[in-house]
Symmetry: C2
Subunit: 334 residues, 2 copies
């Protein structure tokens, strides 16, 4: 069934039907009602592709995500999708894993679907690495990066200032007399590095010498963290606080501590990052840095809509995170 069928049934031309579909006005109320009724009765839905061909916009945005099964990305995607849809856009989701080739393939598919823009969630590599997939996309459509940056034409970003957030957190810990702070991160993403820089700056500015043994790398799995922290403890390296680049890592660390009868927060204080459900659910409940993912994502979509409208927008926005205190760390002086 197509616009011709409707036109014939309603006894008007296809132009009139099209005008009604698109609310273009210049149609008498009488015919409008008549045509709308016919569309209703025949259960007609306009074909979005054909429309896209004419309009040159399909009202879809590609969302490139390394992994929606990750709670943190899932939340981001969920908010992005909601924001987009409430503005008349749909989201095509592509989960690509960490591989550049897969990302490029996905981007090609999205480009062939002539999406109006692309939003990258956890899909930017470190600066030194190859980020050519972003360039490829930005050549054709605006690209929005969530929590990452890449300076290129037609490329925008909205990020949490992870470096600054961790820096502030270190300062808070130092104020509370913690001098040996263990930093745990996974190297999968750029953000672990950013956060590490905040950690380093925090210590340096507090005149605390940096102890490389207190900087621990591991995979983003419970077992991997547990092993890593076990090793630190077994090597008799002293620490009274932990900052983890991710809530899962913090939880894994606490598991290790609990096994070794080290009390949280009495003996060791723990802070996570992302303020995810895990933070709430762990025992003790985890103090965690909130990276304001809702605000980030909302702002990202808003910016993109502005770009569509040809409005001037800030290319790179940075928002500061804040610490949500629970049981695993409560500062003496709040």
């Amino acid at each position: 069934m197509n616009i011709y069928d409707i036109a014939k049934e309603a006894g008007v031309s296809i132009a009139t039907v099209s005008r009604i579909i698109n609310n273009k006005g210049n149609v008498s109320p009488k015919t409008q009602d008549k045509v709308l009724k016919v569309m209703q009765d025949m259960g007609y839905t306009p074909n979005a592709f054909a429309r896209a061909l004419g309009l040159n916009s399909i009202k879809m945005v590609g969302v490139l995500c390394s992994d929606v099964a990750d709670k943190h990305y899932a939340k981001a995607v969920s908010i992005i999708e909601k924001e987009l849809r409430s503005n008349g856009y749909d989201a095509i989701l592509c989960c690509t894993g960490k591989d550049l080739k897969d990302k490029k393939k996905a981007i090609n598919v999205l480009l062939s679907k002539r999406v109006d823009a692309m939003i990258l969630v956890g899909s930017v590599f470190q600066e030194k690495d190859d980020n050519s997939h972003i360039k490829e996309a930005a050549e054709t459509i605006p690209v929005m990066i969530i929590n990452g940056t890449y300076d290129y034409e037609n490329t925008y970003s909205v990020s949490c200032d992870e470096e600054e957030s961790v820096y502030t957190c270190v300062k808070k810990l130092v104020e509370d007399n913690h001098k040996e702070i263990l930093y745990i991160y996974d190297v999968e993403s750029l953000s672990g590095i950013n956060k590490k820089n905040g950690y380093l700056r925090g210590l340096t500015e507090s005149n605390i010498p940096i102890n490389e043994q207190l900087i621990v790398k591991c995979d983003r799995t419970l077992d991997s963290v547990k092993d890593a922290v076990d090793r630190v403890i077994e090597n008799d390296i002293q620490f009274s606080a932990i900052i983890a680049a991710e809530d899962v890592l913090a939880v894994g660390a606490m598991k290790s501590l609990t096994k070794k009868r080290i009390r949280v927060p009495r003996q060791v204080v723990v802070v996570g990052f992302n303020n995810s459900v895990l933070a709430e659910c762990s025992t003790p409940a985890l103090t965690s840095i909130d990276n304001k993912i809702e605000i980030l994502c909302e702002s990202a979509v808003k910016t993109l809509l502005d770009v569509f409208d040809g409005k001037k927008t800030k290319k790179h926005q940075i928002i500061k995170g804040n610490i949500v205190y629970r049981e695993s760390f409560v500062p003496n002086k709040m």
Copy 2:
């Protein structure tokens, strides 16, 4: 840039270019190479809409999900997307919340985008409720339901046998001499009810009278469960085991127990459902019923592809879950 530009540049007709794009054969290797090179050089990507117009398939599947921020749904969506994409299909994601009207709106958008099929994740209401959105979709395209059923033409489903899984779990608990088993569920979804039926059957078949005070309803939030369980304990209602319809609920329950100095699993044994990250991360680690979501989703996509190919397929598949033992409950007799 379009197929004409490529054709002109390569000195062939658009039909030849089209044949190459679609791998239709009947093209000499020489021209094939020539044209491919031109496409490469000019950075050409075929327009999927125009193709869809001709082919009458856009190679996209709509995924209707009540909430991707929910870890469990996120996992499902992630697997579905991966399976689809590895078979040349894209996923359009629509998160609609629990509202029927929103679902209908989303379905209309998806239909207008002429998706080849629709997959529903957490988007089926109870039987007695209005599920007309499914009918509306199935009128036009095949609909696949994950963990739910709705018997209608062109509608398929793949589910975990939640009733049976909980039933088996109750049996296991009874074998271990638990007679007072607390069942906690949230009423948001159909599945809480299914699981409750398994709980009831398990008790009945074990000749244990049903105590309505041991059946607790609450919201799907930590605080809500904690309150609910607190109340049970404060009313001095005895129980030695808990089955929760969701891992979060189990975690909330454990939080309440811990606060009241009730030891898990020594004094009370706890079993969750879904075998999510939470189960791993909670303290003590949660024994949880795995509903095999990967298998469900893979099977769902496979079935859909078969439907596309016109192959005969089972309309409704049921897979049994299994208990993953961790710390919160380990049976004496395994």
